[in-house]
C-alpha cells in the first residue's frame, strides 16, 4: 500500500493527488483533535450538568414526598435496596429514598413513564410505605395538548388528588367526583391524559409496591448508610 503511494507521488510529482495515506492521516488527526476537544469540554461541563440534574431530581423528589429534605438513589438488587451514587451507573431498577433533615426516612419517590395522549408521559410519584398512600405526583416530561391534557400538571386540583391517595385497593379513575380514598377524579375534557397518569402510577405500583413494602424493614440500615447527594453549592 505504501509502495503504491510512493509510486504515485514520484510519478506525478505534484501535491494535487494526495494518496490514501494522507487522506487517512488527515482524518485521523482531525478525529484525534476533535476527540480531545470533546473529551475536555465533557470533563469541564460534566460536573455542572450532573449537579443540575441532581438538583432537578432532588427538587422533584422533595415535591412528591412532603417533609423530605435529602434524597438517596437506591438500586433494587437481589431483593434488597442498595444505596448508589447515580441512577445512570446501574442497570438495576432504581427508586429514590427521601429523608428528613435529621435523616429520618420519609418515603420513596418512584420514577415511571408510559404512553399519554400525545407522547410518553414521564412522572415521579411519592410513596409512603407506612400509610400505604401515594404522597404526591409530578410530571417531569410530557407533550400533552396545551389547555387540555397539560392540566395533568397545571391543574392544582388534579395534582392535589395524589397527595394522599390510597393504593389498596388499586387506584382507579372516576368521573364526576372522587369519593373513596383510592379514587382519582378525571379532568373534564382530558380523560385520556388523566387515565394515562393513573395507568402509569398503577404500573409503577405493580412494579414497586411489593418490593418497597418488603424492603421497608431495611429502613434502619439505610438510614445509617445514607449519604446526602445534595451538592455543596446548594446547601
Amino acid at each position: 500500500m505504501s509502495e503504491h503511494v510512493e509510486v504515485t507521488i514520484s510519478a506525478g510529482g505534484k501535491r494535487e493527488e494526495p494518496g490514501p495515506m494522507r487522506l487517512t492521516l488527515t482524518l485521523a488527526i482531525a478525529g484525534i483533535i476533535a476527540g480531545a476537544a470533546l473529551a475536555s469540554v465533557y470533563e469541564i461541563t460534566r460536573p455542572i450538568i450532573e449537579a443540575n440534574n441532581q438538583r432537578a431530581l432532588r427538587r422533584a423528589v422533595l415535591t412528591v414526598v412532603p417533609g423530605s429534605e435529602k434524597v438517596q438513589a437506591l438500586a433494587y438488587r437481589d431483593g434488597q435496596l442498595v444505596a448508589i451514587e447515580r441512577a445512570a451507573d446501574t442497570t438495576d431498577p432504581v427508586v429514590y429514598g427521601a429523608f428528613s433533615d435529621s435523616g429520618r426516612f420519609v418515603g420513596y419517590a418512584v420514577d415511571a413513564e408510559g404512553p399519554g395522549f400525545q407522547d410518553t408521559i414521564h412522572l415521579l410519584f411519592g410513596y409512603d410505605p407506612d400509610t400505604r398512600t401515594i404522597t404526591g405526583m409530578q410530571v417531569l416530561e410530557s407533550r400533552e395538548t396545551p389547555g387540555l391534557g397539560d392540566r395533568i400538571y397545571k391543574d392544582p386540583k388534579f395534582v392535589a388528588q395524589f397527595e394522599a391517595l390510597a393504593v389498596k385497593p388499586d387506584v382507579v379513575l372516576v368521573k364526576g367526583g372522587a369519593k373513596a380514598g383510592n379514587e382519582v377524579d378525571a379532568i373534564t375534557g382530558a380523560t385520556i391524559s388523566s387515565k394515562a397518569v393513573v395507568n402509569i402510577i398503577k404500573a409503577g405500583n405493580a412494579q414497586w409496591l411489593d418490593r418497597l413494602d418488603t424492603a421497608a424493614t431495611l429502613q434502619l440500615l439505610l438510614e445509617e448508610q445514607h449519604t446526602d447527594v445534595t451538592p455543596e453549592a446548594d446547601k
Partner: protein
C-alpha cells in the same frame, strides 16, 4: 407486547417523524414531487433506519457508556457508513433496485430523521427490540407521510394554485393540513 404496539403506532402515526417531530423535512419537501420516487425513498429510509437502530443499540451498550461525548460523532459515522454499505450491497445484489434508489441513497445521510431516530432511541433508553420496533414504525410513518404528500402534490398540478401561494408556501400549508389530520391518531392504543 402492548408496549411494542404503542411504540410502533406512536412512531408511525401519533408522533409521525415528519408531521409531528419535523424530522426529515428536506426530503419530505424535496423528493415528494413524484409518487414512485417518494415511495422508493421511503423504503430506502426505512431500511437505513433499521440498520441505524441496530448499530445505535450496539453503540449504546458497548461504547458510549465509556465515552458519552462521542455519541454524536459515532452516530454520524455509523449513518454515513450504513448508507455507503447499503449502497454497495444493493448495487451488488440488485442492480435494478440500485438504479431505482441510486440517487436517493447519499441524500439519506443528511436526513435528520435518521440521526433523530438514533438520538431519540438513546434518550428514551429503548432496548434492542424496542429500538427496532421504533425504527420500523418511524420508517413506515415517514414512508406514509411522503407518499401521501407526493400523491397530493401530484394532484395539485391539476389545480390553479394562486401564484402567491405557489412553491414552498403551499407545500407548507399542505403539510400543516396533513399534520392536522394526523392529530386524529392522538391517544391511539395509549390508554387501553
Amino acid at each position: 407486547m402492548q408496549d411494542m404496539l404503542w411504540i410502533f403506532i406512536s412512531a408511525m402515526l401519533i408522533n409521525n417523524f415528519v408531521l409531528s417531530y419535523f424530522l426529515g423535512l428536506c426530503p419530505f419537501f424535496g423528493v415528494s414531487n413524484r409518487l414512485s420516487t417518494s415511495l422508493r425513498l421511503g423504503v430506502a429510509v426505512t431500511l437505513v433506519m433499521i440498520v441505524t437502530s441496530i448499530c445505535a443499540s450496539l453503540l449504546n451498550t458497548f461504547v458510549l457508556p465509556y465515552a458519552p461525548y462521542l455519541q454524536l460523532i459515532s452516530f454520524i459515522i455509523v449513518i454515513a457508513s450504513t448508507v455507503q454499505f447499503a449502497e454497495m450491497i444493493i448495487k451488488r445484489f440488485s442492480p435494478a433496485l440500485f438504479r431505482a434508489l441510486g440517487i436517493f441513497l447519499p441524500l439519506i445521510t443528511t436526513n435528520c430523521a435518521i440521526l433523530g431516530l438514533a438520538l431519540f432511541q438513546t434518550n428514551r433508553d429503548y432496548g434492542f427490540l424496542q429500538g427496532l420496533t421504533f425504527a420500523v414504525g418511524a420508517g413506515a410513518g415517514f414512508t406514509l407521510a411522503i407518499v401521501l404528500m407526493a400523491s397530493l402534490r401530484q394532484e395539485m398540478r391539476l389545480s390553479n394554485i394562486p401564484s402567491i401561494v405557489q412553491g414552498t408556501a403551499i407545500s407548507m400549508i399542505l403539510a400543516g393540513l396533513l399534520s392536522l389530520a394526523f392529530m386524529g391518531f392522538a391517544g391511539m392504543f395509549s390508554a387501553l
